[in-house]
Symmetry: C2
Subunit: 287 residues, 2 copies
């Protein structure tokens, strides 16, 4: 596996891969790989001839009070894991490479980015959309793979790709979970042992919601109340529990085939998110 840190070198590598007739898949990440990232790499491998994984902790998507500085990093370990997974290139540019001067241009995603996670993280999704647009322009992938764990991000990037006619297919990959159900996240490393134990309540809340829907409940308010109770009982602070249309993120009052349940909650000082489909066609929530 090659490690590339330079934009020109990355473009050249991709141009050569394309000339050789290969399809390129891109997996944009912020590094500190866990089993979720590795699943995205496997998915990318199944979709293309060449797999490029980008590793960039993007300052533009962090608010001034957020965890940019303490976000976990371990390039050496990430390099080894990606290499073992058959990734062709790990593209890990420095901040000064991606933002040599203050960027005047942004890709903004409008109202889709102001709700749910966007309500507490103003500008976050514009920062995500902007850096993903840059990565698309540098790599020129045929397909890009994102985790469903960041469901709002996935919907927004699908919308961005459609609105701006990006010549790339956006693929979402299901959430990968710990044995107790906690969605894999690099931020799980922030949790104390006690917080880590409590954090499993989030996926229990999702499971409770699916059980209610399986039992015939269709009222979003009743479902949200039940999920809030699971979170609160475990000592978590809920930020939002929302049922939205999975394609548009529009809030729903009644559960439909298109419903997605999204949750953000705090375990101590750590913000965690998770989500699931609510209807029987969705995949089963483990454990």
């Amino acid at each position: 596996m090659e490690l590339i840190t330079d934009i020109t070198a990355m473009r050249s590598w991709c141009a050569a891969a394309r000339r050789a007739g290969g399809r390129i898949a891109l997996v944009p990440t912020m590094g500190y790989f866990h089993a979720g990232h590795l699943a995205l790499m496997d998915r990318a491998r199944s979709l293309a001839d060449r797999v490029v994984v980008s590793l960039f902790v993007n300052p533009l998507q962090f608010g001034p009070t957020e965890d940019l500085d303490r976000y976990p990093r371990d390039l050496e370990r990430d390099q080894r894991l990606a290499g073992e997974r058959g990734v062709d290139v790990l593209f890990a540019p420095a901040v000064e490479t991606m933002y040599p001067s203050e960027t005047a241009t942004r890709v903004v995603v409008g109202e889709l980015g102001t709700r749910l996670c966007g309500a507490s993280r103003p500008g976050h999704f514009d920062g995500v959309a902007t850096v993903v647009a840059k990565l698309f322009h540098i790599v020129g992938p045929d397909v890009a793979v994102f985790g469903e764990k960041d469901f709002q991000q996935l919907v927004i990037l699908r919308r961005m790709a459609a609105d701006l006619d990006f010549p790339v297919t956006i693929v979402g990959h299901p959430v990968v979970r710990e044995p107790d159900g906690l969605a894999m996240s690099s931020r799980n490393t922030y949790l104390s042992p006690e917080e880590r134990r409590r954090a499993a309540a989030i996926s229990r809340g999702l499971r409770r919601a699916r059980e209610l829907v399986a039992g015939g409940e269709r009222r979003v308010e009743a479902i949200a109340t039940a999920v809030e109770a699971v979170l609160t009982d475990a000592g978590l602070r809920s930020e939002y529990v929302a049922v939205v249309d999975s394609a548009t993120l529009a809030p729903q009052h009644k559960v439909t085939q298109r419903s997605r349940l999204l949750v953000a909650a705090w375990a101590g000082a750590t913000r965690l998110i998770d989500n699931c489909a609510l209807t029987p066609s969705g995949e089963v929530i483990a454990p």
Copy 2:
């Protein structure tokens, strides 16, 4: 020459051209071709193997009180002119093709787009940047050619391409003028014979500014006052007369090698713009 109106067909044509090893130049236009557009097509031809000219009157860059509905259109004539000029494809999508639903995503250009023309046309440059990003994603050009007539637009698109790492070279082409010096513009067709006669004062103002600089004047205020006088004497209403850094559009107080003079003025109900370099290295303003 092919006329293409469909995005998928345009992508296929470009993919085939690229597979054949050809470099593609794109000339984005709003149609109603004049000698200025034809010069851009010639320039594009000199830079690439294939020339695509897009023709799209972009609603996103027109304000609610602007001239979207009466903007001049003549596809048949444009097709003939582009064909005679050796253009390979005229890409003329319908509005519903480019904007099948309301676009949630915009490319915004920040402070660069709020000054000069942006002050009286809020959102205009965001609309331009957004549609040009879409065209770049559809055509995937190696190089794109824009007229220096829209100088602020050119600076903004250069900045957009750099900030977002678009894999495209932006080329600016000098203003093409009528025999009396008026910069070519599709909007010149709005002018009454009397307004048309008066409109030549804009290029006379530019020439006066260059004469002052050639004579040693470096104070922007003195130069702007002289240009305003030329416009007013001819019965034009000046919107702005500004001297800015040609790379950043930052206002200047003293003329430098990087100075550009930008003018917007009204002849009756028609808004006209023009610009020139101020230093001896710039090209001579005709006539």
